[in-house]
Symmetry: C2
Subunit: 186 residues, 2 copies
DNA sequence: CGCAGTCTACCAAGTGTTAGGTAGGCTGCA
DNA sequence: TGCAGCCTACCTAACACTTGGTAGACTGCG
């Protein structure tokens, strides 16, 4: 299933296929049907596990460093890690692109990923005292979308430093907290 | 070829297929080979035409309204239009997701689209006096990525008003020029 | 036994692509 | 004028291959 996730992050839901996936795991394609009744179920399971893991990671981040501002500054690193690991995309960004061709059960999980991220960001923005409760969700959505966009662009150039630059740009513009010095020079 | 563009904006390069495409145009699949030697060439041609059209549209925008600030405020509308027209994505955002599976000739055109957008944004930002020449390209890239991300998110909810909200969020945060009143309250 | 997990052997659809042929239009020469 | 030669645009038929999915049999463990 980790194999499925990796493939999906690189080639999307449509890039998932039973033969290759089975080979990765060391079994034959039809055996997969013992674990998932259909490709749609497999996809949904992968996507669900993905946002669950992300949610756990975000939660860990929140409890590890007490300062919510630090958490926010670290947030893009989650997306950065995908790029580091074979120039992969956030699974759900990819699936957002494929959205129209996705089975409904997969679509649901994709949306859940967004919800998880926005909820965490929103909470953390408020905790950091950066925005009021009223505007926090809107701001959270903007941040989420912007970071996803940065990941997409960086991937199409296979250039992680471009991702960093884009994030710096967001900080310089004030969308993300933190960067003042890093933005101007170098 | 316009049909190919529409399909690619909804289903990506991998979603393009000769049979359906031919049917749309009213001919048979193999006849396409009279016009394009391969799927890769077709894809490249579609992508190239896409960024050329976009470049022309941007140029028209620049000359139509003399005020570069207005141009910048209108910029997201280009991406909005794709969503309006059948919840479609910017062709090149989609292809950025598929990047690893794209033939090189198509990859080049995808990058060219980004270059065109960033160049225009950069130029216009400077003309509007919003940033210095040194930082303009970085800011342009950030804007481009953020708007693309907003489009992606809005699509996955089939909700154009979410796109508008995200753009508003960018304005409120200071990434895009324009919104002051809309940002603070409500 | 019964069942979980895997296998081999298929299948129907759908993919990009090739081969070979036809219809009609233009050009230039006798 | 007539006709050869070449052109573009399209056709049908088939290719080799990949896709998700099914049927039915085997194995080993409780």
């Amino acid at each position: 299933m980790a194999a499925a996730r990796r493939t999906a992050q690189a080639h999307g839901y449509s890039g998932l296929n039973f033969r290759d996936l089975a080979a990765d795991v060391g079994i034959r394609a039809p055996s997969i049907y013992h674990h998932f009744p259909s490709k749609a179920d497999l996809g949904a399971a992968v996507a669900k596990r993905y946002w669950e893991d992300t949610a756990a990671e975000l939660e860990a981040m929140s409890s590890e460093c007490a300062d919510p501002l630090r958490c926010l500054q670290a947030y893009p690193s989650i997306f950065r890690r995908s790029l580091e690991s074979g120039n992969r995309l956030c699974l759900c960004s990819f699936m957002s692109a494929e959205y129209d061709d996705l089975p409904v059960e997969v679509q649901k999980e994709v949306q859940a990923f967004g919800d998880v991220n926005v909820a965490w960001l929103s909470r953390t923005l408020v905790a950091a005292g950066l925005v009021g409760r009223e505007e926090s969700e809107a701001r959270a959505r903007s941040i989420f979308a912007a970071v996803a966009g940065a990941q997409l662009m960086a991937r199409s150039r296979s250039d992680i430093s471009l991702f960093d630059a884009l994030i710096d740009g967001y900080r310089a513009a004030g969308l993300l907290p933190g960067g003042k010095k890093a933005s101007r020079r170098s």
